[in-house]
């Protein structure tokens, strides 16, 4: 998904038959706090260098060989199996997890953090039989990995020198949802989940905020989705978090979609799992943590933000095909010339880095192809017929501007002209989709000062924004009576004094209420 980089899930967990230790492939990396994570971590092997950076960090000043000798590798000729396990441990290709199979989490882990188990227990899938035998301890197909991450962190974190620590994995997770919807709410879904540990509360807060900023940028700049970023209410905070930050997107039906979250976990998990470090004064302290994720749900968000009655409409920056070329001919003797020209145009665009496809099938009419590729959401269509070949030009149609209005004739096939035109149009479409979605969003948010106004806005299908300092109970009452929840307290707040729309008491912030997916 665009600027976000992929990391394959931690995938393997193993134990030597005669041993009680079990490696998993959770990779670790540390980084300066101020850098956004942009570097790709696609394969396990490619994560080595970053894990290595950590090891190259100071550990025992004045005794630089200590760590290396700790990692001494059994000679291959002496014991091949021991050599193999030593290499894997020394090169940090794998570590030992609590269950054979890191997809699974021991049920007891889930129970350790009180609000976590409360939040997730209705949604768990439990493996009770393995290899034909009833298991002694039920295993949970991971719904999220805070528990297992903390288990590993207790082994990886010793002193303040090991902090900050960050891992990120792309993993499938499972939540036994009763009501599902493609991409938006599914029983199994793919996500990126990041986890960090810090020495101070301030650092964790900074990290949580930085990640929600990165998600916000991704939404605006890549997906052309004008999310509203803010903090969740206590009621809506993640099970086990101290604070949850969120990006909220308005779908075409004006329902809100929570498109990504970043949690400041405080010390909730580190206390439950005893994830501690020795600080600079030699004192043992619990680490401060964050976690954050976006998932395949984002695909649903893109569909429901930009799509129209003709089908998908993809922002150019995320479209796997940015330009489709449809060659048009009627008589057999026109075909070769048209296909030749189409092919040259394709090459020209391809070389310029544009994702282009040619649909030269004999089997469908041009009209069918037009509809088909519009349905697929391709941002630009180039039509080339015999007359265009003669004139050395093409016809270009925009997906986001239907009919003749979006159609321009006589664009020169000349490489420099054509490439510049296409790039320009793709940029224009990207911005136009964002502008359109922003206008739609803004025209559907109503500022309210009373509960009656809120109810009125929600009943019209709109979002209501108003000052809020009322209780959790009152928030739940709003949900019950209107179906709307607090989506967030937006970071961008109006200035001036505010009065709670529910209680009339002073309020520090406005909250955003909406019905949601």
């Amino acid at each position: 998904m665009g600027a976000l980089t992929l990391r394959l899930t931690s995938l393997t967990s193993i134990f030597a038959a005669s041993s009680s230790v079990r490696p998993s492939l959770l990779r670790r990396r540390s980084r300066p706090l101020s850098l956004p994570i942009r570097r790709p971590l696609v394969s396990n092997l490619s994560a080595q260098s970053t894990a290595a950076e950590k090891d190259a960090a100071p550990e025992i000043a004045g005794n630089q060989k200590a760590r290396v000798s700790e990692q001494a590798i059994t000679p291959r000729s002496q014991d091949f199996n021991a050599w193999y396990l030593d290499v894997i441990a020394s090169a940090e290709l794998a570590d030992y997890g609590p269950v054979r199979g890191t997809m699974f989490i021991p049920y007891s882990f889930i129970e350790k953090e009180a609000s976590h188990v409360e939040g997730f227990s209705p949604e768990l899938a439990l493996v009770t039989v393995g290899g034909g035998k009833e298991l002694e301890e039920k295993l949970v197909v991971r719904p999220t990995s805070e528990t297992i991450v903390n288990h590993m962190f207790t082994q990886w974190i010793h002193s303040y020198r090991d902090l900050p620590l960050m891992i990120n994995q792309w993993a499938n997770v499972t939540r036994w949802e009763m009501r599902t919807k493609p991409f938006v709410r599914t029983l199994e879904f793919l996500w990126q989940e990041g986890h960090t540990a810090h020495a101070t509360s301030e650092e964790a807060e900074e990290e949580a905020l930085q990640m929600i900023d990165i998600y916000t940028k991704f939404a605006y700049e890549q997906a052309a989705i004008p999310v509203i970023t803010g903090r969740k209410s206590r009621v809506e905070t993640f099970a086990g978090a101290s604070k949850t930050y969120t990006i909220e997107a308005m779908m075409g039906d004006r329902k809100a979609l929570q498109a990504g979250t970043s949690h400041n976990l405080g010390q909730n998990f580190s206390r439950a799992f005893a994830t501690q470090f020795t600080d600079e004064n030699g004192q043992r302290q619990h680490v401060w943590q964050t976690s954050w994720a976006v998932s395949t749900r984002f695909i649903g968000g893109i569909i429901m933000t930009h799509g129209d009655d003709a089908g998908l409409m993809l922002p150019p920056k995320m479209a796997p095909v940015q330009v489709v070329i449809v060659p048009i001919w009627k008589k057999a003797d026109e075909k070769a010339g048209v296909l030749n020209a189409a092919s040259s145009v394709k090459d020209v665009l391809h070389v310029a880095g544009i994702k282009v496809k040619i649909d030269d099938s004999d089997q469908r009419t041009p009209g069918w192809k037009f509809n088909f590729w519009e349905m697929k959401g391709v941002p630009l269509r180039i039509e080339i017929g015999p007359r265009d070949v003669s004139s050395g030009s093409v016809v270009i149609s925009r997906r986001d501007v239907p009919g003749k209005q979006g159609k321009v004739f006589g664009i020169s096939m000349d490489a420099s002209v054509l490439v510049a035109y296409v790039k320009d149009k793709l940029d224009e479409i990207q911005l136009s989709l964002l502008a359109k979605a922003t206008a739609f969003r803004d025209s559907n948010i109503v500022d309210v000062t009373s509960y009656d106004e809120l109810k009125e806005a929600i009943s019209q299908g709109k979002w209501a924004r108003g000052p809020w300092s009322a209780s959790d109970e009152e928030e739940l009452k709003v949900k019950e009576e209107t179906g709307a929840t607090i989506r967030c307290f937006p970071f961008e707040q109006p200035k001036g004094e505010k009065t709670c729309l529910m209680t009339g008491n002073p309020a520090a912030e406005v909250a955003l209420f909406a019905k949601s997916y």
Copy 2:
């Protein structure tokens, strides 16, 4: 993993609350049989174009609008939810699978193909509780996906025009192994699994062979592993396959590693699942199928083929860091100059497309860094000290040639000289690793003509190659008595008449026996 392209697993399965249909994200694509699959299919969205190619194929000649109207999309304003589901179906972003959550397979599916259930039932992880409730039907955490693929194929394949059909997914699978070993045999592992359906037996056979060829090329050209490619014996054939092709690699301890397989499934699954198509004569026929996979096990193969007592040794084409630069200084006033030069060298190599890393940490000695990066398997090390800065040259060391022999002084920092030298050395190392592994392999394969010779070879830890036409029972006897199994009947066969080493009967082929992982 190098030339092989990644495809994220099919990840989502869903159902509308009021409906009994359930979409999954298995993507389909068809392709001309003769083309190898090289095109990346990283994200679900990026798979659209290929799925589209299929839809652009002939279906109802002379009625070109038919398909489009079949896919009519509900107007957004009329019913947003219906519109959303229609767009997803029309654009082929998801389809409906048998279980909410395509990670899971209904237990009854596994039971449909007799040898498949027999082969896999001892290794299954069963989910029996979901969302707090005992499930009516146990679900299997997928050990492989032939069953679920066939279920989908029955819905996607109607006539010969839908064939050949190929899908590929990267997915985690689970097998409840009793003895595990990192990367090589793990309870949960990541693999690429491809599945195809064909109109004829010949096409399926051609496909199965083509895929084992691709794996062979990958092993030789990317991983520098000189696998031996061949056909499995009946005893060793995949549960449910008619024929299994394999690439067998010799590890450093001379045990065999099955590094990839390609199965001609015949009609075994299509008969069990009634996966049928209407042929050109209007007759219903069962499809012919293949499946093929390589997994994270390959990582274990790379470690155990090339690694030595100093740690990992990565083939340059697969190394995430191909060159590490270690700047060396003693006095503070040397530091800036050395780091400057190191940084320029890094930039020069980076621009030339070489994967380069600089280790400029203050905290470790150069000697520590040398050991560390050797352990990480980095093919080339560049050392830059104050004297090198003065002379405008660097020192380059090869990972695969230890000590002074692998060290060359005075390579010019001049961009054109340095880049050419480094590229040349990386190529040389790649070839050298393959040559070394090949020599090792060949010196450890013994041609045998009798069972006694076979036993002798195996007891020496070698592989035995000899003519074989004996029974399955005799093959199992060899395993029991020697611990060796038939790894394959190699494609490359010696010429001339052969006599079975066990029975003295004529034999058509030699088989390769070895102990294995």
